[in-house]
Assembly symmetry: C2
Homo-oligomer: 196 residues x 2
DNA sequence: GTCTATATTGCGATAGAC
DNA sequence: GTCTATCGCAATATAGAC
């Protein structure tokens, strides 16, 4: 097995395990057994269990960098929010473990929270807040709305929908085929809620 | 120490510890040391660490039973949702650990999830869904909105606001004095989003 | 009902052979 | 780079004295 294979397979195997059981819920023995590598490989390649977890988190939260892209298309603020909603739904489809790390670190933070998670989320919130301010300045959005409160409400609608999936499996259709309806639905409520 | 003192102090001490570190992040040694009781008391009173955790969860999620009360005041659907928003904010103020158990169990479920958490959340969602259907029937809400999707969006706005507090501490004022503004703000967006 | 002492298992990490 | 063997410690749980 080449150098990178072992490193890569450990991250690939650790991602769903850490996501579903939490950092303390997975042992290094379980990790190496699932990965089919030797017990000592985690220390050899990463320096320990916590460093492997940090590597997984770094990879996961790097995908949030795409959010900045919604500013690079010359749309109006409302169009940017629509892109944000759609790209967030897409991101959770492509990356089914991201939200778990997201909420797990918010709820039971590890040392990686301050270093990796908090800055990544903060960056997204500030981008969305700036877009909303832009919409107020151009007269598109109601100026009496607090920008941060409002974009938190928008982010909450989307994220909570996916977070509650273990409860709503029998109550709503979670098939990806329905994503576009969901996007339209959320955009509909948000638009009526914030435009002048 | 009388019987109930020991039981009660263990639950009182275990609640913040489990909430902040997760089930696997707390050891029975840490629990009994913080509680000032003997190591064997957890097994004696609860039968083990997991049973103590289940007792904490049961107490926490019992507070969600209040949600049914919003139906007992003869308000119109919109008034019921306003009561839901306000009572949810109040509940998180009075019970600062509930949301952590909520998201922790959704993200990294323990055996208690199916038994305690899922039924409690499900009950709340069905109550809210029924209220929204009632609002559609009376012509107050737009009939093209999917009731479950819509009330998930509402619940998401509220819950996500509190969930993100560790990130937004420096970005928004989380003082309870501002709660009424938050309630008004969320109600404002929701109302414009769903009324005919 | 509360204590000490201990049984048993599992943990993360690493030394040293190959 | 990968292996086995093991160190040192922490985990939950309980037996048995008081």
């Amino acid at each position: 097995m080449s150098d990178n294979d072992c490193r890569a397979i450990l991250i690939a195997v650790a991602t769903p395990l850490f996501a579903e059981k939490g950092f303390h819920g997975v042992s290094v023995r379980e990790l190496v057994k699932s990965a089919g590598v030797n017990l000592s490989m985690i220390s050899y390649y990463f320096g320990g269990k916590e460093a492997l977890y940090a590597a997984v988190l770094t990879e996961q939260f790097a995908t949030l960098g795409q959010v900045a892209d919604i500013n690079s298309l010359g749309m109006d603020p409302l169009g940017k929010f629509q892109r944000y909603i759609r790209s967030t739904v897409d991101r959770y489809r492509k990356n089914p473990y991201l939200l778990r790390f997201y909420t797990s670190e918010l709820t039971n933070p590890t040392p990686s929270f301050e270093l990796i998670v908090k800055p990544a989320i903060r960056r997204v919130l500030l981008i969305l807040q700036e877009i909303f301010r832009e919409g107020i300045a151009t007269g598109q959005f109601r100026q009496e709305l607090d920008p941060m409160d409002t974009i938190l409400a928008l982010a909450g609608m989307i994220n909570f929908y996916f977070l509650l999936e273990p409860v709503t499996q029998e109550l709503v259709n979670h098939a990806p085929q329905r994503d576009e309806i969901l996007v339209t639905h959320l955009m509909d409520i948000f638009t009526r809620g914030v435009v002048v």
